[in-house]
Amino acid sequence: MAKHVLRLTAVAYILFLLVLPVGLIIWRTFGDGLGPFVEALTSPSAVHAFKVTITVAAWAVVANTVFGVGAALLLVRHEFPGKRLLGAFIDLPMAVSPVVVGLALILVYGRFSPVGGLLESWGVQVIFSTPGMVLATVFVALPLVVRAIVPVLEELGDEQEQAAHTLGANRLQTFARITLPGIRWALGYGVVLCLARSLGEYGAVAVVSGRLVDQTQTLTLFVEERFQNFDQPAAFAAATALALIAVVTLLLTKLLRPKDLSDGN
C-alpha cells in the first residue's frame, strides 16, 4: 500500500512540475501545425539569436574544457599550497546566483571601471558584447567539466602515467596517450553538461548582454523578450527548440555515463 502511495506521489510530482508544463509548451507550439513553428524559428531575429547562442556556448565550452582538464589534473595530481582553496573556488559558481555573477562582471569590465576602461581604449568591448557573455557563461558552467573528471582521475591513479614515463614517454605524450583516453568518457560527459548549461544560461547573460535585440540576444533572452511582447508563437517555438536541445544532450549524457563506469574498473 505504502509503495503505491509513494509511486503515485512521485508520478504526480513529475507530472505537475515537468511533464505538464513542457508538454503544454510543445502542444501550443505545434497546435497550428509545423508551419508556424518553422516560420517563427526562421525569422531574422530568431536565427540571429541562434547564432549568438551557439557562438557564446562554443567559446564557453572550449574555455571550460581546457581549464577543466588543467584544473582537474592540478587538483588530483599535484600538491601545492592553496589547493583546497582552489577546489572551493571552483565550486563557487554553483552557489552564487547568476545575476550576481553578471553584476560582478559589469563592476570589473564595465566601461567606467579601470579594467573595462583600459580594454575599451584598446578597442575591446566586453560588457554588452560577446566577450562579456562568454565570460558570464564560462563562469556559471565552470565546475561542470572539473567535477566530472576529478573522480575518474582519482580512480585512475598515476601508476599508468608513471609506467608511460619509464617507457620513454614525455609529459605531452603521456597525457595524450594515457591520461586522455583514461578520462575520455568523463570528459565527454562534462563537456555535454557544460554545453547544456551554456545553451540554457539566462540570468548572468541577461545582465551583461544588455539584451540588445539582433545584437546580443541569445535564444533564452529571445524567448523572454518575445513572450513579453505578446508574440507567443515565437516564444513557444524557441522554447521548444531549447527543450529539444536539452533532451538530446540528456540522451547524450545517458549514453556516456554507463561507459564511463565500465571503463573505470
Binding site: 617507457l167 605524450q173 596517450r177 594515457i178
Partner: protein, 321 residues
C-alpha cells in the same frame, strides 16, 4: 656495475625513509631488496627508476650519473605491483607502447612484440584487453612491456605481491628462468624472504631506511649481520641466551655436555617435520625435528629433554637486556 647507489637520503616530510643508502648491483645479476614494509625498499627502487628524487646522494646507471635524469631518459624497465596496465590498449599495444614512443618502424615493432609475447606465453592473447586477463597474465604482460624497450636494468616493485599464493610460486620460478634466458640486470622488491632466497642471487636487506646486510642468499641466511636479519630470514628460537635456527638444535632424552634441560609442552606434527614446543625454565622455545627423531624419542608433553645447538650451528649471542 650496472647500478651504483651512493649515500642516498630521502625524507617524506619530516619522516626519513632512506638514510645513507649505498647499494651496488652487478651487471646481469638478479638482486632482491628485502625487508619489512615501511623499510624503504620500494622508495629505493623508485629512486633508481627516477620516480622519486633523492634529497642527497647519487644514482649511477651503467656508469652514467642518472641522479637528475627524468625516468623517461633512464632507460629502465619498471614493473608495478598492481601492473599499471594501460586499460584502453590491447595486450599487443601495451607491449608496443615504448617502441611506438621511440618511433620504430611498424614491422620491427610487430616482430619484437610477438617475440616478447611468446617469451611471456601471451602470444595467443595479443588482441585481448587487460580487463580480460588474470592477475598473473597482466603481470607477465607488464614484464614484456618493460622488456620491450631493452632496458639497461629491470626494476620490479613487489611484482607478485597482488597475486594469490599458487600463481606467485609459479611466477617466481618462471622469473628465475626468464632471467637466465634474458640476462638483463634485475632488481626486485619483496617482503617475502622465501621469495628472495629462491629467486635472487644477491639479497640486500633494508630496515628502517638503512641497508643492514648485502650478500648471497646463503651468506645472509647463514651469517646474518644481526639478530634482526636472522629473525627476518627464517625461523629462530632462543636457547641459553643465543638465537638459533630451530632445525640446528640437537634434542636428546639424557643429559648431554653443554645441553640445557627443557620440558616439552606440545608436539605438533606438520607432515614430515615435527615442531616440539618446550619450556627452558620459564622461557619458551621450539625445536624442529624429523618424524623419525620424534618417534624414536617418543616425545610427549611433560617429558624432560636436553637441548644444545648442533655442531656447526649458526647462532647469535643476544646481548643481555
Amino acid at each position: 656495475m650496472a647500478i651504483e647507489v651512493r649515500d642516498v637520503n630521502k625524507s617524506f616530510g619530516a619522516t626519513p625513509v632512506l638514510r645513507d643508502v649505498s647499494v651496488d648491483v652487478e651487471s646481469g645479476s638478479l638482486t632482491a631488496l628485502l625487508g619489512p614494509s615501511g623499510g624503504g625498499k620500494s622508495t629505493l627502487l623508485r629512486v633508481i627508476a627516477g620516480l622519486e628524487r633523492p634529497d642527497t646522494g647519487t644514482v649511477r646507471i651503467s656508469g652514467v650519473d642518472a641522479t637528475r635524469l627524468s625516468p623517461q631518459r633512464r632507460n629502465v624497465g619498471f614493473v608495478f605491483q598492481h601492473y599499471a596496465a594501460f586499460k584502453h590498449l590491447s595486450v599487443f599495444r601495451n607491449v608496443a607502447f615504448g617502441l611506438e614512443i621511440r618511433k620504430r618502424p611498424k614491422d620491427e615493432i610487430r616482430k619484437r612484440v610477438m617475440e616478447l609475447l611468446e617469451l611471456v606465453h601471451l602470444e595467443k592473447l595479443a588482441d585481448r584487453y587487460p580487463s580480460q586477463l588474470s592477475g598473473g597474465q597482466r603481470q607477465r604482460m607488464a614484464l614484456a612491456r618493460a622488456l620491450a624497450v631493452e632496458p639497461e636494468v629491470l626494476l620490479l616493485d613487489e611484482p607478485f605481491g597482488a597475486l594469490d599464493a599458487q600463481v606467485r610460486k609459479e611466477l617466481r620460478a618462471w622469473l628465475r628462468r626468464l632471467h637466465d634466458e634474458v640476462h638483463v640486470t634485475t632488481v626486485f622488491v619483496t617482503h617475502d624472504q622465501e621469495e628472495a632466497i629462491e629467486v635472487a642471487d644477491t639479497i640486500v636487506v633494508l630496515a628502517n631506511g638503512e641497508v643492514v646486510q648485502a650478500g648471497s642468499p646463503g651468506e645472509v641466511y647463514d651469517n646474518p649481520a644481526n639478530p634482526f636479519v636472522m629473525r627476518f630470514l627464517g625461523p629462530v628460537t632462543e636457547i641459553g641466551g643465543s638465537l638459533v635456527r630451530p632445525h640446528d638444535i640437537e634434542i636428546s632424552s639424557g643429559p648431554v655436555e653443554g645441553g640445557s634441560p627443557a620440558v616439552v609442552s606440545r608436539v605438533v606434527r606438520l607432515g614430515f617435520e615435527v615442531r616440539v614446543e618446550v619450556k627452558i625454565g620459564t622461557e619458551e622455545a621450539w625445536v624442529q625435528v624429523t618424524r623419525e627423531q620424534a618417534d624414536r624419542l617418543a616425545l610427549e608433553p611433560g617429558d624432560t629433554v636436553h637441548l644444545r645447538p648442533s655442531p656447526g650451528a649458526r647462532s647469535l649471542v643476544l646481548s643481555a637486556v
